[in-house]
Amino acid sequence: MLYLHNYFKLSITAFFWLMISLHVYNATAATEFSLADQCPPSFALSADNQCQLRNLYQLYDSLQSQGLGGLKTALPTHRDGFSPQQIDLGRLLFFDPLLSGDKTLSCANCHNPERGFSDGMARSVGAKGQLHQRSAPTLWNSAFLSVFFWDARAESLEEQAIGPLFSAIEMNNTPQQLISDLKQNAIYPELFQQAFPQSDDAVVVANIVTALSAFQSSLISLNSAYDRYAHGDANALNPQQLEGLNIFRSFVARCSQCHTPPLMTNQQVAVIGTPEPQGLARDIGAQATFDAELLRGGFKVPTLRNIARTAPYMHSGRFATLREATEFYNKGRGHAVPEGEKLQLHWHISEPNLTDNELDRLVDFMGALTDESFMPTIPQRVPSGLLNHSSNSHLGLRSGD
């Protein structure tokens, strides 16, 4: 049923979205860029104007409060407490190409909501068409993360947000230019003042990354078919998905040992030895972050939520489909590690000898982790008036503002 519901949401025409916007958002239509005073879905507004996350996993506990376990287990600690205005400002900034050095790229170019907040590319394209070393991870449920980037080099949403903004191969901006552009804009200074009323000078980098973090923390996906099974509906998964769940958590496949429920990641670094794309040198990953040879080729275990929406897979998008990515684990420990390459492979990388049928069922199960029911409204226009270019030029079709 939820599948239908998602299908409905995703396949709807521009006309329908326009119709919704007239119903729901006509309050904001008059002043085009005033900020929301209500929280996004799944958040309660507190008396001191903070959005507090609510989800069904809050009914449960977890061992050592680490947010790891089985079906009815609490999630890891999360970020919330941002104001509705900060979240909404973050949403506008997120979709605004003004944030990039040459004003052609917004965050949404690589974190496109229509592609699971990823970009459908093996490796993302940054400023001046430069190809990034790695693929863009999904932003769904990043509120629950304490480790960011494939190589685990950041520990907060804010620290993460700084990275792409000022990276020469990503958005290639500078703090000076970014602040100058935002201050010269006719609309942003007032919006920043609304979102950060305590600041004398609200247009500062710290507030920009706070707003971006606030928006990212609002991207909650916890109502998939799997979740309904976890909360107690024995019929929420079809027989193929249920068979897949049992393979997923079996100690033959061992998927859940690292993609641990309920977030479907244990947020640890793992060296699994996937092949690099043709002609590319080994990406050393977390070795650089921790200055540790044992972590050579190690990457953060990614969440599997909405994984069916974010092909291709692995840190450099080596696998085009979920089936291929799943099959990697079945081909034998170290089968893709070139001769002479020394990797301390993770102990759960083994030789499970799963059947083709079992691999198919795992893919079915991962399909049951899709939920985009809290998709944020994508702004039709942003305060800079700049258009989103190229890959996400179609975003405007689903505008709500």
Partner: protein, 495 residues
């Protein structure tokens, strides 16, 4: 260990050994472990992991030829399932609370789960208050019995033979009892407690496996009265780096038989246990506050007790959040016979730095902050020069680390439940004022004013009411209490 550190280490140990060696002529201090002070640390626990039922639910009988899983699906929390002797080839998974799954033993014949070498795991459970007992399990590829996050479990009197990776593996659970099981022929650990709290492992026989009993990244565990024999390693307490729960603390290993664990290591390449040397009695690696008491440790050719840090292990990764040292190891009286008679070069090297030749009962490698021992003169020990004298002699005051009454579920008031469910689920489709995917809350309030039960009935089995709206998915996965709470919450909303 890199070479430079190794050299420094050897010199330090050499000096320590020399000083200790020069004191060897004094008459040893003999400490009586009878009636002395008892260990006062740890966790104050109780017996039994699953609270006795105040009322019995239905009993479902499964006869040979029928499906155990079908009975699990039919069972309600509070029910019991009795499986008659016979052979069953299936994976049984229990994703509900308070189910007692029992094999029936008739004149020695058991309900046997046979994986035929093709099925993955025999029994998986995620529910709380689950009891699994009296089965025979064989020929599965994965685990015999595996728990994921279920609290308050009892796994008892099962015979697990030649089954895959782990025989019994509760993971991420609190408060569990594993007792009277006979587990053998396991490629990793016969009994493996992973990332769990408040555990009691007692009266089990584990043999012919790579590891007998492992306590890994877990706290408040007692391992007692087990017979661990003819494994590669007998009883292990350690921290595996790279796991999300980072510590092993407060483990008592007492009154076990740890005999002849000299089986050549047949662990899978790359597995953590594949680095265990054959002939290991008890191994402590990076675990803190481990007490070893009253064990009979005999015939383990590498050493009776090995305490080390992460640098000594070849198969593990690096984790900055993981403390690599074994702190506060406490060795009380143990009977140690004929250990370390054919040890590995690494142990010989450490022994030589202390001018020790011949067999080794106890070897400690790496820092040993806060560690202690009594009656050290009894043992052929190396690397324990920094061990102090323990200020207690026994653990008699501690019966169990299990939680009185069991681990309790989180208490959530009805109004909190209503808000959690409304915001966590309903707001994806319903807003207060306007149409989103479904009708507005105001429209719903007008229809069900004063009738929360009517709303509950609808969300349990929604019917399509409006042509231009998509059908609503049933919310019947919410329990009755949450359903009523969310209905009342929604009808009372004011904005």
């Amino acid at each position: 260990m890199n070479n430079k550190i190794k050299v420094v280490f050897l010199i330090l140990v050499f000096a320590g050994g020399w000083i200790l060696g020069s004191q060897n002529n004094k008459a040893p201090v003999i400490t009586s472990s009878i009636g002395g002070a008892s260990y006062a640390g740890g966790y104050q626990g109780q017996q039994g992991a699953v609270a006795p039922r105040t009322e019995q639910g239905q009993v479902h009988i499964v006869e040979a030829g029928q499906s155990i899983q079908a009975a699990v699906e039919a069972a309600q929390p509070g029910d019991s399932i009795q499986v008659m002797p016979g052979t069953y080839s299936e994976t049984v998974y229990i994703d509900k609370d308070n189910i007692h799954l029992r094999g029936v033993i008739q004149e020695g014949k058991r309900a046997t789960l046979d994986g035929l070498g093709t099925l993955n795991d025999a029994i998986l459970y995620s529910g709380n208050n689950v009891v699994i007992e009296n089965f025979r399990i064989t020929q599965y590829k994965g685990n015999g019995i595996m728990g994921q996050a279920g609290n308050n479990f009892e796994i008892r009197n099962n015979v697990i033979v030649d089954t895959g990776i782990y025989g019994i593996f509760p993971q991420l659970g609190t408060n569990g009892l594993v007792e009277h099981n006979v587990v053998s022929g396991i490629e990793d650990a016969a009994i493996y407690i992973g990332m769990s709290d408040n555990i009691h492992v007692a009266y089990n026989e584990v043999f012919d496996s790579v590891a007998g009993i492992e306590i890994e990244n877990s706290r408040h565990a007692i391992v007692e009265h087990n017979n661990a024999h003819h494994n590669t390693g007998g009883i292990l307490a350690f921290v595996t780096p790279g796991l999300p729960i980072k510590t092993t603390e407060d483990v008592i290993i007492r009154n076990n038989f740890v005999l002849d664990n000299n089986t050549p290591n047949f662990g899978a390449p790359g597995s953590i246990v594949s680095g265990i040397p054959a002939g290991t009695g008890i191994l402590v690696m990076a675990a803190d506050d481990v007490i070893i008491e009253g064990n009979i440790i005999s015939g383990n050719k590498t050493a009776g007790i090995i305490v080390n840090d992460h640098s000594f292990a070849p198969t593990i990764t690096m984790d900055i959040e993981s403390d690599p040292n074994s702190d506060r190891t406490m060795i009380l009286d143990n009977v140690m016979l004929n250990n370390g008679y054919d040890t590995i070069p690494e142990v010989t090297a450490v022994a030589l730095t202390e001018l020790h030749t011949g067999s080794v009962d106890i070897v400690h490698v790496g820092s040993s902050d806060g560690s202690c021992i009594i009656n050290r003169h009894r043992y052929r020990a190396v690397g324990i020069g920094d061990y102090g004298e323990c200020d207690f002699t026994n653990t008699d005051s501690i019966d169990s680390y299990l939680i009185a009454g069991g681990a309790q579920p989180r208490i959530i008031r009805p109004e909190e439940r209503g808000e959690i469910a409304y915001l966590g689920v309903c707001t994806g489709c319903h807003s207060y004022t306007g149409r989103l995917i479904g009708p507005s809350v105001q429209v719903i309030q007008a229809m069900y004013a004063g009738n929360p039960q009517g709303l509950v009935d609808y969300i349990n089995a929604p019917i399509k009411k409006r042509d231009n709206f998509p059908p609503m998915p049933a919310q019947n996965y919410l329990d009755a209490e949450t359903q009523l709470a969310v209905a009342e919450y929604m009808l009372a909303l004011e904005k």
